[in-house]
């Protein structure tokens, strides 16, 4: 009996991610949702610039590679051209919350019928560990060597809270992947973000609080503890917006 196998919508290409990096888990959750919903044949993914830049090699569905931060704009074009297809972006914090903030906010406020997977690991991983818009106050990075000083570098951006203040988006949730319970919750949220698109509900974003052992300078185990102790208190998990649920409650 097979108890564990690779999702069908992932290719056989080996991930290039660092040991202990949760991108592998998050890719898997996205692929599981695609498999469960049977949408591999109509899915089109948009890879970002950042650590997941080569995601187009890992997903078996059609893929495009966007410019840094522009994934929601590119996804908008694809979805407007092919409304029957399922379009998702997979973006990091520098991509989505810094250089691509305008594209993110406006795709959300248009309630563009796309699914956005947003990986928040509080650092720029691909370029070697610079301060991200989501780096925590006091967090030491290559470009905040004395710790993020909020007086000069400002405060972290809480994307889920920010976007849920808009009338547009259908679904905004924040999940984590630092333990089994959280991974199972993340799986549900990601699947819902795809189901929403199938049902035509609109912009659905799942912020995944993740870790970067390499650039945080921690062992994978220690990094997961840091997620629990430092990240989650600053970035509380939960569903921030759910238009259908709001409607039902009325």
């Amino acid at each position: 009996m097979v108890v564990f196998e690779k999702p069908k919508s992932l290719t056989d290409k080996e991930f290039h991610y660092c040991p202990g990096c949760p991108h592998g888990i998050i890719h898997r959750l996205v692929a599981e949702a695609i498999d469960t919903l049977g949408i591999e044949g109509i899915a089109i993914g948009v890879a970002p610039v950042g650590c997941a830049v080569m995601a187009y090699d890992y997903f078996k569905c059609d893929m495009v590679e966007a410019a840094h931060g522009r994934a929601p704009a590119m996804a908008t074009g694809i979805k407007r051209s092919l409304p029957e297809n399922i379009v998702f972006t997979y973006q990091g914090d520098g991509d989505l919350a810094s250089i691509g903030m305008a594209e993110t906010v406006h795709a959300a406020t248009r309630n563009e019928n796309i699914t956005v997977i947003f990986v928040n690991n509080a650092i720029y991983g691909m370029t070697g560990g610079q301060m991200a818009p989501t780096s925590l106050p006091g967090q030491v990075t290559q470009t905040s060597p004395y710790g993020r000083d909020v007086k000069t570098a400002g405060y972290p951006i809480k994307v889920a809270e920010l976007l849920s203040s808009l009338d547009g988006p259908a679904y905004i949730a924040r999940v984590a992947v630092n333990n089994v319970k959280h991974v199972l919750e993340a799986k549900k949220a990601i699947q819902k973000a795809f189901e929403n698109q199938i049902q035509g509900k609109g912009f659905s974003l799942v912020e995944v609080v993740s870790a970067c052992p390499t650039n945080w300078g921690m062992t994978p185990q220690k990094a997961l503890e840091w997620v629990e102790e430092k990240m989650i208190p600053y970035y509380p998990l939960g569903v921030y917006k759910d238009k259908k649920a709001e409607k039902e409650a009325e």
Binding site: E40, G41, I42, A43, I44, V46, V53, M54, Y56, D57, F59, K60, C61, D62, M63, V64, E65, A66, A67, R70, A73, M74, A75, T76, G77, I78, K79, R80, S81, L82, N85, A102, E103, V105, H106
Partner: protein, 354 residues
């Protein structure tokens, strides 16, 4: 062909694009091309197309990138400062070998510049514009009729060669009204392109639209392949108009609105006995090098007439190999030369020669 109608240049672009089968337009407001967006905003919802006012020029061009990846006809339009913002996306589209149309209704620069007509985006349009090894097919209309005709041609060439095309117009032709005969509307057919992302349907390997090649040998190969296509474009698609060149001893070179002013000056100079003609590049890239190189044997000198500090003149000098004088008659910053100013430059070039 249908009947003649009176249209603004910018509107002619929009209607011609729709008739060429374009059903996706993304833009951001900027003078002097706003009529394109306004026309699209009215028409697209009525014909099942997309009009979307993007949050920025950057977003607009990346929406174009998305649609282009699906293999459908798509366009954006802007004016100089907005086209600068689009350059990142244009480079990605070129690097991904996708067709699309970008319209630049030029205004004076640099910086915020002004809102009056200009041709000072020539370098940006013809030499790449963004980063990396690439070209656009650049078409330069000189009338409202050509705004329409070259829009249709731009889509066809972009599709044929998988190269983004640019219509390089200027504020004068964008804003002026002339009678125009529009092409019959093409049926919108969605034949699946062998490279487009449309969903695998479980029937083929996945397609990837991408400009990233981390292995330098692969990237070099890609660029060589692209330049082979550029060579084919240069061979097959170079277009120009020759005006009174049969017996010309002097040659004016001008495109767009400057060519119309220059034609008046050429006719006036002929009346004074100066044998002068005009070569008007219609494709700025590929540049009509050969016709200018051939003209070297025939004429004693060239005169470039441009609404810039002299940009196309560099290509004219390259094409003519330093064998003849190449003079410049130019205005910039939104100013347009009068036919008299061009005539005076022709007289000077001819040096009293009759």
């Amino acid at each position: 062909m249908g009947n003649k109608v009176l249209m603004k240049g910018n509107e002619a672009i929009a209607e011609a694009a729709i008739r060429a089968g374009c059903r996706h337009y993304f833009g951001y407001p900027i003078t002097p091309q706003t009529e394109v967006a306004a026309y699209m905003a009215k028409r697209m919802p009525k014909i099942g197309g997309t009009f979307l006012q993007a949050e920025s020029e950057i977003a607009a061009i990346n929406m174009v990138y998305g649609v282009a990846g699906t293999g459908r006809r798509v366009m954006t339009s802007s004016s100089s400062p907005g086209v600068s913002l689009k350059q990142e996306g244009i480079s990605y589209i070129a690097g991904s070998d996708l067709p699309c149309l970008i319209v630049d209704v030029q205004r004076g620069g640099p910086g915020l510049g002004g809102i009056q007509p200009s041709q000072s985006d020539y370098f940006q349009a013809t030499k790449g514009g963004g980063h990396g090894d690439y070209h656009l097919i650049v078409l330069a209309p000189a009338s409202v009729q050509e705004m329409a005709d070259l829009t249709g041609l731009a889509f066809d060439l972009a599709d044929k060669y998988r190269v983004p095309a640019m219509l390089l117009a200027d504020g004068t032709i964008g804003q002026m009204m002339e009678p125009v005969e529009l092409a019959e509307a093409q049926e919108v057919t969605f034949t699946e392109k062998p490279w487009a992302v449309t969903g695998t349907k479980g029937k083929r390997e996945h397609h990837v639209v991408n400009s990233l090649y981390l292995v330098p040998e692969e990237l070099e190969k890609k660029n060589f392949e692209r330049y082979e296509r550029y060579a084919a474009i240069a061979k097959n698609e170079t277009r120009w108009e020759s005006f009174m060149m049969e017996d010309a001893e002097y040659c004016v070179v001008a495109f767009g609105i400057a060519s119309r002013v220059s034609k008046n000056a050429v006719v006036a100079a002929r009346k004074e006995g100066i044998k002068v003609g005009l070569i008007r590049p219609i494709t700025l890239w590929p540049f009509p090098k050969q016709v200018l190189a051939d003209a070297v044997e025939q004429v004693k000198g060239f005169l470039c007439v441009e609404l810039s500090m002299g940009q196309m003149i560099e290509d004219v000098k390259l094409a003519t190999g330093g064998k003849r004088e190449v003079a410049l008659c130019n205005r910039t910053g939104g100013m347009i030369m009068s036919p008299e100013e061009v005539l005076e430059s022709i007289r000077k070039l001819a040096g009293g020669d009759k």
